[in-house]
Amino acid sequence: MRKLHALFDHLKKSKPNMTMTKHLNLPRITMIGDIHVYIENHRGISRFTDQEIGLNITNGQIMIKGSNLVIKMLLSTEILIEGKIDTLAIIESSTKDGVKK
């Protein structure tokens, strides 16, 4: 856990990416093998079972499928998911203007 935190801290501190994500409000997804997914900049959980997790992001959803999924940590914009992860899909949805990005 500590190592992970250190890794995430390190990632957060890397500056060029920081500006990008800040500006665009894009989620940052960090995966460690298929056992951990760390997502920053999400906008809440839409659905959660031990097979599937749906997360809202700025313009769409992230769908994580796997088995024995557990949310190891949940903060307002960060989430750490643990379990056996099979797929991670980003589904873009139309924005409010109805323009697909």
Binding site: I45, M73, L74
Partner: protein, 402 residues
Amino acid sequence: MKQIQPIWLKGIVTLRVHGHYPERFFDFCARHQIPVWSIKKQSNLECIGDIYVKDINRIRQLRRKTHYKLSFDKRRGLPFFCKRLKGLKPLLISFFLAFIFFLYLTQCVWFIEIDGVSSEMKESISITLSDYGVKKGKVKFLMDNPSEIQRKLLNDYPDLLWVGIVPDGVSYKLEVITKKQPPEPNKNRRTHIYAKKDGVISEMFVAKGRSLVAVNDFVKKGQLLVTGELNQIEKDDKDETLAETGEAEAEIYATTWYESRVSIPLKGIYQTETGQVNNKYHLQIGSFQIPIWGFHLTDFEFEHIESDYYELSFGKWTVPISLKRDSHKEIIPVEIKRSEEEATRIGLEQARQNLLRNLGRETAIIDEKILQQSTENGKVNLHVYFTVKENIVNTIDMNQGD
């Protein structure tokens, strides 16, 4: 991975949420800055997750805005542990008391065994011991250490040769050896007194026997001085067996001469303690030391360290944790420079002391003379000549001259 310790101290509650889309409640919590972790979906309507105890009130407030039902499952952590302990107070207190009692029983002296002396002596020694504070039911820590007791006992009983104290668990074993008065039949039965050294006799006290020498006689080593044969019998006399022999007892003082060489350095360096002491305490576990007290004290420039150990032992087993006290005593090197006269004076004194130590208490120095005095390599070399008055009666029985 598990970093349980700090979390455990805060107290954790497993929260069970019941309702449609229970995961949204956790999301709701996260949005209100309440940390949630280990979220698991149990069924479609149920979800569990861990939260801190301190957040419970806030979560209750949040719940009012929603339609979920909450229940608290597991309680873990220090706050709950303490609460549970409160219920077990009598048990804990009794455990503690039992432990204290156990410590007392094991750290006390219950048996004092004295070996090697008569029962009368035993009684008197045990009374003396109880005066020192060594009694049945006394805690070992509060008593003097064995070597101190040994020293005291030997001081108080001059006829004891040796006292060995072995603290063995709850018993104190004293092994006492009394001095055997040296049998002195030799002295009494001595029939002849011979000279121990060359010298000129200055005083004679003949208590028993017939003296063969007079004051101012020069005697040689091994010369017969006093004899117990009262009648002057010729050696070649037939009736040698009939010769009347008695005891000879005398004190004969003679003037003897000694030469002594001493050399005294003009410069001397010695160390004195200034009386400044820093005590540092360590907890010693095996060979590992944890400083607990006094570690902030700075070391002296010159110091000498004395270490004392305080240990706890149960029977043969010594607790591997001991308290170590380091006394850092400040010392300062003192350099002294002597003048030649001073060095001479010290050298003479030293020579005198040496001589008296070798010859015994009855000796008196009559005269002393410096034969030679030289200074070289920062040293004063003295060659001293002493005239001494001493008892030349040979205390060792000699088989000579018979």
